[in-house]
């Protein structure tokens, strides 16, 4: 299993046009993430970490190169196909949690399941299980504003894992939390990686966070390296 490559990014290039200006964010970048890895992605602000994560998660398309996940070229998918693919294959965790404020914790976790054919009861079971994994069963009926940042992020993780995706993409999941809450989130991600075999790609600024990962790569000037460039 260890040689099984889940994420295969080849030679990707990503440019943004801003007015007449052409911003080259990624230029010919390649990356392989084996199944079961917990990869930390570091780099200075504005180096393109989020951009790379978006390409892997099918939230955006590269302007060149290819993105292959589980042997499927997702960069050529239509919008519709890509949306369906995301719903099935990736769980997303954001820095600002991005829960819907008008929905309770359980309704937030239920959101991705609305896109499946599960019955109401099956959905309920999945939601309960996911909330149990993140230790928030007792907060199911609470709204995001009634919860701490750490709790909201755990709801965010429950939402990411409720469909049981192979790949978890986390964009600075502890970036807005204090050390203690951040540690709890990292513990949780480690458990998901080790015990449930989730492949995780986590963007972070924090060396303390990247220390939890099985491997760390650095992004700088559109290229990856194993060493941080000073």
């Amino acid at each position: 299993m260890s040689n099984d490559v889940l994420v295969h990014v080849r030679n990707v290039e990503k440019r943004f046009r801003r007015g007449s200006e052409d911003i080259h964010v990624l230029s010919g970048l390649s990356l392989e993430v084996p199944r079961g890895e917990f990869l930390a992605l570091m780099g200075p602000s504005g180096s393109g970490k989020t951009t790379l994560l978006n390409l892997i998660g099918g939230l955006d398309r590269p302007t060149g190169g290819s993105v292959e996940i589980e042997g499927e070229r997702i960069d050529g998918f239509s919008d519709r196909k890509l949306a369906a693919w995301r719903a099935r294959h990736v769980g997303l965790v954001f820095q600002m949690y991005n829960l819907l404020p008008v929905l309770t914790a359980e309704r937030n976790v239920d959101l991705p399941l609305l896109l499946t054919h599960l019955s109401r009861q099956e959905r309920r079971r999945h939601v309960e299980a996911a909330l149990a994994v993140v230790g928030l069963s007792h907060r199911a009926r609470h709204f995001p504003r009634q919860m701490s940042g750490g709790e909201q992020q755990r709801v965010g993780i429950a939402r990411a894992i409720v469909t049981d995706p192979t790949l978890l993409l986390c964009d600075e999941p502890t970036g807005d939390l204090d050390r203690k809450a951040g540690d709890e989130i990292l513990d949780l991600l480690q458990v998901l990686n080790r015990e449930q075999g989730k492949t995780i790609v986590m963007v972070t600024h924090d060396p303390h966070a990247s220390a939890r990962a099985s491997r760390t790569v650095h992004l700088n000037k559109g290229q990856l390296s194993t060493e941080a460039v000073p």
């Binding site: 939230l59 600002m96 008008v102």
Partner: protein, 384 residues
């Protein structure tokens, strides 16, 4: 259906704004309902007017009387099937503000001419037998609590009796219903022979004639023939279709159709701006959340649908409550104390209203929904 909660939950977001928007929609549709009922009331009879009937009145005005001898002369004109006459009595029962119309008629011929007035056989017979008998429409009977057998005094300043009295007493022998919804059941009809004998003035004169013709297609010709028959006489006539006659009556109040249309256009234009603005703001504030939904795998058309459904929900809650409230208030009665004998919320206006509610929801939602559909996930998530 499983998305209903998601769509509905957005209404809790800005409660004050949402409530105010719904309230203004509610008021707009309440006004709509009321104006429709008033318009229907003023045009009353036009829609149920017999197309095979003409009304023949004095050329100068409706107040001027016509000789009763015209009846036979009209009956002889080719194309004419039957003729009856009516006269404006102008009476008051207790309160002058509680208006309703009364007319002396010849019972048998009258009931034959107006099949839309439904009267029991027993009542019909009783009316033939009792000189002072009168029949009254269901609406007025209910209004004053009259029952068959009641003797009702009606005052009039127009018609004084030979004994000097201005109070006429009638015995209610029957209560008639309308064959369909638009039929006026506020009127009271009594016997012309009783009237003619008792009145001090106006001998040999009647108010106007209703004429049934054999072929409705030939109505204009027959009307012309009638007017020609009495041309150059002291009492020239004006014959016209019953519908036109009723419409002319309504026109005296102004062109209510145009007024209604103008008011409603202004109201709906305002409402369009108000709820359009609400929806535009709702989407602008929520760009990031809509981006998250898309990131989770919701498709752009789904997101478009959510926004449209939300604007339809706002319009639906406000608009349907407005229509419902209008219906309740209209059922409670005519606000003018009888000046509008027919006052109800016409079905077609109700359905049109429901259509307008839906249209409002779609029109105010479509642009924000389109914008929501075009949100790029990466852009939306970069906002923080």
């Amino acid at each position: 259906m499983k998305f209903l909660h998601l769509i509905g939950s957005n209404l809790r977001r800005k409660k004050l704004r949402t409530t105010l928007t719904m309230l203004s929609i509610l008021i707009a549709f309440l006004l709509y309902g009321y104006l429709c009922a008033i318009q229907e009331g003023l045009n009353a009879g036009v829609s149920v007017a017999g197309e095979d009937r003409l009304v023949v009145r004095h050329k100068v005005s409706l107040i001027q009387l016509l000789p009763v001898s015209y009846k036979d002369r009209i009956a002889r004109i080719p194309g004419v099937d039957a003729v009856v006459h009516q006269t404006w009595f102008g009476g008051i029962y207790q309160d002058p503000k509680k208006f309703f119309a009364q007319m002396p008629v010849e019972p048998e011929a009258f009931l034959d001419m107006y099949p839309e007035f439904i009267l029991e056989e027993g009542a019909r017979k009783a009316w033939m037998q009792m000189r002072t008998g009168a029949i009254v429409g269901r609406k007025t009977a209910n209004r004053f609590g009259w029952k068959v057998g009641d003797r009702v005094p009606i005052q009039t300043t127009i018609w004084v009796q030979k004994n000097g009295s201005q109070t006429w007493e009638f015995d209610i022998v029957g209560i008639f219903d309308g064959a369909e919804k638009g039929v006026d059941t506020t009127q009271l009809f009594f016997r012309h022979d009783y009237f003619d004998e008792a009145r001090a003035e106006g001998d040999g004169m009647v108010g106007w004639y209703s004429v049934r013709i054999k072929d409705p297609e030939r109505a204009p010709e027959v009307a012309q023939a009638i007017d020609e028959e009495f041309a150059n006489s002291p009492a020239e006539t004006k014959a016209e279709a019953e519908g036109a006659f009723v419409q002319g009556f309504a026109k005296q109040v102004g062109d209510i159709g145009a007024i209604t249309a103008a008011i409603l256009s202004a109201v709906f234009f305002t409402i369009l701006l108000v709820s359009g603005n609400t929806m535009a703001q709702a989407v602008r504030e929520r760009t990031e959340e809509l981006g998250v939904l898309k990131a989770l795998g919701f498709t752009s058309p789904q997101v478009l649908g959510f926004v449209l459904a939300e604007s339809c929900l706002i319009a639906g809650i406000g608009g349907l409550s407005g229509l419902g409230l209008a219906w309740l208030m209209i059922s409670a009665g005519d606000p003018t104390n009888g000046a509008l004998p027919i006052f109800y919320f016409p079905m077609r206006s109700l359905f049109l209203g429901i259509g307008l509610v839906l249209g409002l929801g779609l029109i105010t939602g479509i642009v924000p929904a389109w914008q929501a559909m075009r949100i790029e996930i990466a852009d939306a998530l970069r906002r923080n």
